[in-house]
């Protein structure tokens, strides 16, 4: 088999597991922004099997509490979002960067493009970062985001969600995703959430209410565990 045939064979295999696929016409912006040709699997090279590393200097303690980034209290339902980041072998991913961003309690982003006529909260920016700890665990304190309208289809509303960006240990493990809340009534009409066609896989995007993380007299807890795909070069100390 030639390398080209091998590449095409791997592309066929990949085509069956890429979920979400690039093209999902219900999400209209995918139509002109989705690759149409099969992906090529490169030889596993060190550029992809390595990635940036992170240390305590990359984040401040307050970066993980989105409710304290203004001069006063952010408005809305205070929540704690936490979970563990693992690789596909189940190993915790330590000291990796987790970035989050979200709308405020009224469903408005502090972004010039967002023209939804809902109030901005001067005390809520909606962006945070943290590193996972030695057990791969992360915790954010934030405000429960509101749903908001968009123009993908008639009467389109995004379910409440928090955007997540993760690096893992390697370029291969990079992940950008969205965390949803249990029981959201808007799932039935959201083509971004439903862009993941395998329903059982899609459900991984929904956090669970976690009473053990709920802090008395303070905030409700939600758990969102994350599993990163892709391989990483095994660090020397772990081999």
């Amino acid at each position: 088999m030639t390398d080209l045939e091998k590449a095409q064979q791997s592309a066929d295999r990949v085509a069956t597991v890429l979920d979400p696929a690039y093209l999902f016409p219900d999400y209209t912006s995918t139509v002109l922004r989705s690759p149409s040709k099969a992906l090529v699997m490169p030889p596993a090279g060190l550029s992809e099997l390595t990635g940036p590393t992170f240390g305590s200097g990359d984040v401040r303690d307050t970066d993980a509490d989105l409710t304290v980034h203004g001069s006063g209290e952010a408005i809305g339902e205070r929540i704690i979002v936490h979970g563990t980041v693992r690789d596909s072998y189940g190993k915790p991913v330590r000291n990796t960067l987790v970035e989050v961003w979200q709308a405020n309690a009224a469903g408005r982003y502090i972004h010039k493009v967002d023209q939804h006529p809902a109030p901005l909260d001067p005390n809520f920016v909606g962006a945070g970062r943290c590193l996972t700890d030695e057990q791969g665990h992360y915790t954010f304190t934030t405000i429960k985001p509101g749903p908001y309208p968009w123009r993908n289809h008639t009467n389109a509303w995004r379910p409440a969600h928090i955007h997540f960006s993760l690096f893992g240990r390697a370029f291969t493990q990079r992940l950008v995703t969205q965390m949803y809340f249990p029981g959201d009534p808007l799932f039935f009409q959201d083509p971004i959430f439903n862009g993941v066609r395998d329903e059982a896989a899609r459900k991984r995007l929904i956090s669970s209410y976690d009473h053990s993380a709920t802090r008395p007299e303070w905030a409700l807890g939600y758990r969102f565990d994350i599993v990163l795909g892709g391989a990483a070069r095994t660090p020397m100390e772990e081999s």
């Binding site: 390398d3 989705s34 090529v40 099997l49 955007h163 009409q189 395998d198």
Partner: protein, 206 residues
């Protein structure tokens, strides 16, 4: 109050529980700008580092229109083939320093630009030589997951000729992986779809 207009499609929602497995991708969306880009993001290398150049280009959609709301990230070895393993991506590199990672959002013209250096060729996991290249990700609204590609260099003809990836792609398409040298650096455009679509890679399945 008028009756709400139903959506044009309806997805079934059942009580199927989540299965075990990798967390699926979702789009970066249109509102990442206040969270992800940072001032020194485009500085992969300090601008007075010997050999530093500008790697820049535009991201285009299927109709050749520039995409003004995408995010480009790159990761690469240095001139000796070493990958940075110290933290500090959010700090600007020293004037002659090197950080290895870059992040740049595209402007109204779909344009991104990094300051970096040409990496040494790094081998595959199995020790096969590869031509110098930079790993690149592009994220955008309308993309349910990132695309991944590699940036090779047009002034590395002999190394490119024996590169395992470049030689595994049809000749008509491999040119989309090669940046064009110009005054001050290299240009590398990303075309998400169409006749001259960039070759995109699957790196999740390694």
């Amino acid at each position: 109050m008028t009756e709400p207009i139903p959506p044009t499609f309806v997805y079934e929602v059942t009580d199927v529980p989540a299965s075990e497995g990798v967390t699926p991708w979702q789009t970066v969306g249109p509102y990442f700008h206040y969270a992800l880009p940072y001032d020194s993001g485009p500085q992969v290398a300090g601008s007075s580092r010997p050999g530093a150049f500008t790697l820049h280009g535009c991201v285009y959609d299927a109709e050749g229109r520039p995409i003004p709301d995408s995010l480009v990230e790159i990761w690469q070895a240095d001139e000796s083939g070493r990958f940075v393993d110290e933290p500090g991506i959010f700090e600007a590199p020293a004037p002659d320093g090197f950080r290895g990672f870059g992040r740049c959002d595209t402007d109204a013209d779909g344009h991104y630009a990094f300051t970096t250096v040409k990496p040494a060729g790094v081998p595959t996991e199995n020790g096969a030589e590869q031509a110098p290249h930079i790993a690149m990700s592009v994220f955008a609204r309308g993309m349910l997951r990132r695309v991944v590609t590699r940036v090779y260099f047009d002034d590395e003809a002999s190394a490119n000729a024996s590169d395992p990836l470049l030689s595994s792609v049809e000749a008509s398409r491999s040119a989309t992986l090669v940046a064009a040298s110009e005054d001050g650096g290299y240009r590398f455009d990303v075309r998400l779809q169409g006749a001259d679509e960039t070759v995109f890679l699957d790196v999740a399945a390694h």
